[in-house]
Symmetry: C2
Subunit: 236 residues, 2 copies
């Protein structure tokens, strides 16, 4: 029974290790080539959640020595001007990565804006070309979306083998569910995608070795009526 | 128990219906615009299986009135010359679709060649940009790979609802397994991908409402020890 006991993954500790590794890399880059990596973070409007994400990203940059290039645009910026700013960042040699914080205001076509980001600066990995390469065997995207990459990294750094495991991904968003599914497939997991159209998701989730809950709703993943004796529902 | 009886899908009859629909469309196009669709089929070398596939494609074109533009190249054609031929077809206004028959000889980089096909003529749908859009919610590829599209079309035209069904895809090749997985997800199936790294694939396959066997091996999908009484293994 001991192999069924839950282990809490200490994400904060792993993140701290990764950050210090990145800080070392950044220092080496700047000592060797006299260049520091630059990340442009573009935010439109004043959504509180977006501002908080963006601030976390800018703070994380500062901590590891990445130069953050801020672009704050008003809520009513036109699509044309936003695209123009993206083009400007595309050619700016001090900018090596561009993040456009989502969601964008309704009058702006997200797809159009994201497709304008130069492929080699698409650090979010949301360009269809990068998603396509993430999906395809034998191809490698230039960048992998960060939350899915983080999930897999947490598993690996916690000593969890992904290969051969039954993985269930709950949700199929372009930002998390879909790319994490593609990543887990590349890692040789047997992957099932559960979503709003799935009948009896609990019975599928219960069979999983690895569950990635990628829906913006707490308590979406629960184990139905856990048995008080065996604790891992095999008797259900 | 009657709903567990197998129904054999008559693929040939459905194909014939689709072909006559396409023939009508092609006729209308040529009457209205004086243009017939042109499909370039490129084959390198003399592989028997490739020749047979290509002949079937050319025959199917003739049957529906699509103009087939043949490019047969010798086994030892250089990568540069092959790409040059693709570029020529890209700009040929009589060619609306380009198929490069796979596999290519070992000295040619398949990825490089396929990426050179103009997106708007990538009728195989294998360009990472088309695969990426096939994968992403809210995006539509210009073309969907034909075998996966055929699988879904066969199900639909046989009156089988995909939405909410448990689908299991066996295999994850770029050509069939991966794109059919992405298509079934878009059709709101709950999809599991089973592959060479899957432990106990039978137990997963047995739970499926829809099984797509996409590995080049007969008898890969079997129902383990079928019960002679209920015939559908629910008693196992």
């Amino acid at each position: 029974m001991s192999d069924h006991k839950a282990t809490v993954i200490d994400g904060k500790a792993i993140a701290q290790t990764i950050r210090s590794e990145i800080a070392t890399e950044v220092r080496r880059l700047s000592e060797t080539y006299g260049k520091v990596p630059g990340l442009a973070v573009v935010i439109v409007g004043n959504r509180k959640d977006s501002e908080s994400y963006v601030n976390m990203k800018r703070k994380a940059c500062a901590e590891v020595g990445i130069k953050s290039v801020d672009t704050n645009l008003p809520e009513d910026v036109s699509e044309t001007e936003l695209i123009c700013r993206v083009h400007y960042l595309n050619v700016n040699p001090d900018v090596h990565g561009i993040l456009v914080q989502l969601p964008l205001p309704k009058h702006i076509n997200e797809e159009k804006v994201l497709t304008e980001i130069a492929l080699e600066k698409d650090v979010d990995g949301f360009h269809p070309m990068n998603i396509g390469k993430l999906a395809m065997k034998g191809r490698e995207p230039l960048f992998v979306p960060c939350t899915p990459k983080g999930c897999v990294e947490l598993l690996k750094r916690s000593g969890i083998t992904i290969k051969g495991k039954k993985a269930v991904v709950v949700g199929r968003s372009n930002i998390v569910g879909l790319p994490v599914t593609l990543l887990l497939l590349k890692e040789d997991a047997t992957v099932t995608v559960v979503h709003s159209g799935t009948k009896e998701p609990e019975s599928i989730i219960r069979e999983a070795d690895i569950i990635i809950a990628a829906v913006g709703q707490a308590m979406m993943v629960t184990i139905a009526s856990p048995c008080p004796y065996c604790l891992h529902n095999e008797c259900n």
